[in-house]
């Protein structure tokens, strides 16, 4: 039978095995690469990561560390950019779902631009926003805006039935009340879910942008250290990216459960 439950302890055991197997596979690759060239650093052994960790956490004269600077830069850009993109897309998406004239105005450009991968538009973004620090924020914001606005719009239009809207009106609600009390509350879990799904693409885009024009941040460090064959640093950064992605996922799932317990899993 499918979905046959298993014991919690069994589950933990299997997951542990999977993690250990991944680590072992990595270590085997490292050994293999070392057989080709004993001095290689491109696939460092797990034991060599200590050195990379030391390098990224070593403070310079000003007390700054690579890791500290890069975390602030990359996640700062992500947070502010994502924040702007979310606010903008929620406002426009909800308005599109609520008012057909707004829908007619925004639907064609939003639906079209949502289909262009932001990374392919990198050069256009550089021209539009320059290459200074704010550019990253503007780029992340705009890159998530179109897709997110489309999701919000679609939820606001389709997930809230006319029936519910008319019922609210007939009970004496004003238009703002219908929007904030009925429409918004009903689509909130979908919006949170859409944001969660946009973090990955936003991160891809941000790293790519930093890779090309950054002078600090994860993309920058990975490129420069890759050129130096310092892969102990590069892989630690990749692990941090993976872990932070999981963390953000978990955070947004918790938020959704907390704000919209009625929505279920």
């Amino acid at each position: 039978m499918i979905r046959q439950p298993i014991q919690f302890s069994t589950k933990i055991g299997i997951s542990t095995v999977a993690i250990l197997a991944s680590l072992a596979t990595y270590e085997m690759l490292a050994r293999h690469q070392s057989n080709i060239n004993p001095k290689q650093t491109t696939v460092p052994s797990l034991l060599q990561f200590g050195e990379g960790f030391h390098e990224i956490t070593e403070a310079n004269d000003k007390g700054e560390t690579w890791l500290g600077q890069d975390l602030v830069a990359t996640f700062g850009r992500l947070a502010v950019g994502l924040g702007l993109g979310v606010v903008l897309s929620v406002v426009i998406g909800v308005a599109m779902g609520a008012y057909p004239w707004v829908e007619a105005l925004f639907a064609p450009p939003v639906l079209f631009l949502a289909k262009i991968p932001p990374t392919a538009m990198l050069a256009v973004y550089f021209v539009l926003f320059g290459t200074e620090g704010e550019m990253f924020v503007a780029m992340v914001g705009l890159s998530v805006f179109f897709t997110l606005a489309q999701s919000v719009y679609s939820a606001a239009k389709k997930d809230v039935t006319d029936h519910v809207v008319y019922k609210a009106y007939s009970l004496g609600a004003s238009s703002p009340e219908v929007i904030f009390e009925v429409l918004w509350k009903q689509i909130l879990p979908r919006v949170i879910e859409a944001i969660r799904l946009q973090i990955g693409p936003a991160m891809v885009f941000l790293i790519a942008a930093e890779y090309v024009v950054g002078d600090v941040g994860f993309g920058y460090r990975i490129r420069i250290q890759g050129r130096r064959m310092n892969f102990d640093v590069v892989y630690i950064y990749l692990v941090i990216l993976g872990a932070s992605g999981l963390g953000l996922d978990w955070l947004l799932n918790c938020t959704r459960r907390k704000l919209c317990p009625w929505f279920g899993e």
């Binding site: 491109t42 990374t119 290459t131 024009v213 950054g214 490129r223 050129r227 064959m229």
Partner: protein, 358 residues
């Protein structure tokens, strides 16, 4: 938009660890039926490196595995060409995914710490191909305090600081900020106010000067000839494999053969245009300018002269090493050698001589 290929590095890193493939030395059957070992050469678009792409086009060599061109048959070795973005080439070489690579003297140092390297052929030197381009400034003093954009830890930064040094300036007064050269050139060409100064290489130098009114060269690599050297480097491990030395000689032979064709009154222009197509689609006039700024070591004599030069051995290379150490590009000084087998970076004229004696 030339810098998009550099994103390929991201993709490369995603799977580099997974393949763990050794550069292959499989056997192929050459035209005369004898088995020819295959060796890979990674190259990126640059005037004196696009030579290998052109050699493939003209049938001198066949860059596919298992196929042999004229020169490959002559040396009984199968040259497999891998074209990639420059950064990716460095990574291929550093992770032993390729036997040989087209690389600058400076960028040879980091991989040499983990893979003993042999420089077999200088292909060209930058004499103006790396330039600091400014707008709205007339002298180096105007640049003081203004940010210059270019690729950090690269020949751009080296050329930038060397010029300041030659002019007796304090390097700290001239901030240098990391940016991909393609993106920096684009920023200046699109007239962004924050981008008043960039330090880039060709084709971006030519492009920017042509596209942006008022853009001019503040200084360039013509003040430091024979310090930035484009070369072909082979891993010592690969050179030691059966056929490795024939491969080295074939690569050298192929380079000089195309150089000869460039001098040829009949084939010269055609070959130059072909080089230009490989290098940012430049036309004949542009390419004539480019090869002035990227001076080829087009004869065995010229190549040998450089590697044997007292100044190159005792001044230039140690200076480049010092730069790399002081800028954190390498943690330790690699051991340099000139015909010294124990060196981590060994400059040899053996294969040039071999081809010359042909």
């Amino acid at each position: 938009m030339k810098y998009f290929p550099s994103l390929g590095l991201c993709a490369f890193m995603a799977f580099a660890g997974c393949t763990g493939k050794e550069s292959t030395t499989t056997s192929n059957v050459s035209a005369d039926g004898a088995a020819a070992p295959a060796f890979t050469l990674a190259w990126s678009e640059y005037p004196s490196w696009s030579v290998f792409g052109v050699a493939d086009e003209q049938g001198l060599i066949d860059g596919d595995e298992g196929a042999m061109g004229e020169i490959e048959t002559k040396w009984n070795v199968d040259i497999v060409l891998k074209q990639a973005d420059y950064d990716t080439c460095l990574l291929f070489y550093g992770s032993s995914q390729t036997d040989a690579v087209c690389i600058t003297n400076m960028d040879t140092l980091p991989p040499s710490l983990t893979r003993d390297s042999v420089a077999i052929l200088p292909t060209s030197t930058s004499v103006g191909a790396d330039a600091c381009i400014v707008v709205g400034m007339d002298s180096i003093d105007d640049l003081k305090g203004k940010t210059t954009f270019g690729l950090e830890m690269s020949v751009s930064q080296y050329c930038f600081e060397r010029n300041l040094e030659l002019q007796g300036k304090t390097i700290e007064d001239f901030p240098f900020k990391n940016m991909d050269p393609g993106a920096a050139a684009q920023a200046m060409q699109s007239g962004q106010a924050a981008t008043e100064s960039i330090m880039v290489w060709n084709p971006f130098v030519m492009q920017t000067l042509r596209t942006r009114d008022g853009a001019k060269v503040l200084f360039d690599s013509s003040t430091i000839p024979e310090e930035i050297i484009d070369m072909v480097v082979i891993g010592k491990d690969s050179l030691g494999k059966p056929g490795g030395e024939a491969f080295a000689a074939a690569v050298v032979d192929c380079f000089y053969e195309i150089c000869k064709r460039m001098e040829d009154p009949e084939l010269g222009d055609k070959t130059l245009v072909q080089l230009g197509e490989k290098f940012s689609s430049l036309n004949l006039e542009d390419m004539q300018e480019v090869v002035k700024q990227t001076q080829f070591y087009s004869t065995p004599e010229a190549g040998m002269e450089l590697f044997n030069k007292e100044k190159f051995q005792n001044e230039t290379m140690p200076q480049v090493v010092d730069f790399c150490v002081s800028h954190g590009i390498v943690d330790n000084k690699p051991k340099l050698g000139f015909g010294d087998d124990s060196a981590q970076v060994n400059f040899v004229t053996t294969y040039i001589e071999k081809v010359k004696a042909e």
